[in-house]
């Protein structure tokens, strides 16, 4: 009985860890098919498309973590609870809008996914290519494993440009001349534009 349990547990552990890379690539492939079918549905008004797109994309990302990383450890830790929640509110809205409207750019392009690669114990990246008539552009999705064993995206490198790194540079520059409240107000203003 004991050995049966041991084997069962070990077996579960190995099958899980062996196929996780494939699972992640699969998730991306399936969801990108959903995204393209929404984008190509000409009968659906853009506003409705956006709602549907967010429904597909939202569960894949950890937007709260992205926001934290964009601010950086030292700034984030210095914020009050209220400031944090307001920032996440504004940032999440902004990043979702920005991501969704970028999806609208690439309706005719082909997408090609490579196999996922485990960079670290808790990090997996998936390289994909946007293939246009004239170019082949890399998009790298970066996943991490959450405490409750889910794999979520915390950053995307679009043509080598990391979303988090770029925001991070911009935020730290903005916060040199502005108070945190002014900064979040401006971020909010930009979103509602």
């Amino acid at each position: 009985m004991r050995s049966f349990f041991a084997i069962l547990i070990l077996g579960m552990f190995f099958t899980l860890s062996a196929s996780i890379e494939d699972d992640i690539t699969n998730t991306l492939v399936v969801n990108s098919e959903k995204v393209t079918s929404i984008l190509r549905d000409k009968n659906m008004p853009i506003k409705e498309q956006d709602v549907e797109l967010i429904r597909v994309v939202d569960p894949l990302f950890d937007f709260d973590l992205m926001g934290r990383l964009c601010l950086g450890k030292s700034i984030y830790n210095s914020l009050s609870q209220e400031q944090k929640s307001r920032f996440h509110d504004v940032f999440n809205r902004r990043i979702k809008e920005s991501y969704i409207s970028k999806l609208h750019l690439y309706t005719d392009e082909k997408l090609e996914f490579q196999r996922a690669e485990r960079v670290k114990d808790t990090r997996i990246t998936v390289l994909s290519y946007f293939i246009t008539k004239t170019e082949r552009k890399p998009v790298l999705y970066k996943f991490y494993e959450t405490d409750n064993k889910k794999w979520l995206i915390y950053d995307v490198d679009i043509f080598g440009v990391s979303i988090v790194q770029t925001y991070r540079n911009q935020f730290s520059a903005a916060l040199k001349t502005k108070t945190f409240e002014q900064f979040v107000d401006e971020l909010d203003l930009n979103t509602t534009e």
Binding site: R2, F5, G72, T134, Y144, K149, Q165, R168, Q170
Partner: protein
């Protein structure tokens, strides 16, 4: 046995508990500003280019051009120019000792010039899966460890840095669409034609990227540093490739 199981669980679960610090190491902490002696000029030039794009090129010139030459045609023109970049990519692949890719360049050029009708089509990519490589002398310099120097924004042509600008000048020697009095064989007859081609090439490419540019500039809080950072990150990726 109970303890063993408990231990197993502890090991499994604790190995995944990690702090936010692990992520912070993946990103550059920007304590000091990058070396940017021309930042004042660059900023003005970026705004000039952006104004040109948003107020003249995009609403008028690109629109008119799209009417004469729809996207399919413009992509084909882009393919034609890309095909003529063959000597540049080939030489730079050799310089970076990427012999396999240099060979692919030869195959691509052969296929696209003949079956692809002088390069207006790209059957090498679509049918034969021969991947196009994007190499220039700026990347070759980067490959051998030359730093980017400092950012320079050019009117009409956009963001560069010192290293890549030196690269562009060097690449001209291998460019069939460049004119040089001292060169034995020139495909074109004079300097003015050469400049005309350069400007047209840029215009055609710009028209293909208009939507993208309009979309990405929305992410900027401050346009110049945003473009400068994105440019450097993109070039670093190309150098590593």
């Amino acid at each position: 046995m109970r303890y063993l199981l408990l231990l197993l669980f502890v090991v499994i679960f604790s190995s995944h508990a990690e702090s936010i610090d692990d992520f912070d190491d993946e990103y550059v902490e920007k304590k000091q500003e990058p070396f940017d002696p021309l930042s004042g000029y660059n900023r003005v030039m970026t705004n000039f280019n952006d104004y040109l794009y948003m107020n003249i090129l995009d609403p008028y010139l690109f629109k008119g051009y799209d009417y004469v030459a729809p996207k399919v045609v413009r992509s084909s023109i882009q393919c034609f120019f890309d095909n003529l970049k063959f000597p540049i990519t080939f030489v730079n692949n050799l310089l970076q000792l990427k012999f396999k890719r240099a060979w692919v360049d030869i195959e691509r050029f052969g296929v696209n010039t003949t079956i692809g009708l002088f390069g207006f089509f790209d059957p090498a990519s679509t049918w034969l899966k021969l991947e196009k490589s994007d190499e220039d002398f700026g990347q070759t310099l980067g490959y051998y460890g030359v730093g980017s120097g400092f950012p320079i924004t050019l009117p009409f042509f956009g963001q560069y840095n010192l290293r890549d600008l030196v690269g562009v000048t060097a690449d001209a020697a291998a460019d069939p669409l460049y004119y040089d009095d001292y060169r034995k064989y020139n495909m074109i007859t004079n300097k003015y034609e050469a400049w005309g081609i350069v400007v047209y090439k840029q215009f055609n490419e710009g028209s293909l990227r208009a939507k993208e540019y309009k979309e990405f500039r929305k992410d900027a809080i401050d346009l110049y540093p945003f473009i400068r950072d994105a440019y450097e990150q993109n070039r670093n990726m190309l150098i590593k490739e």
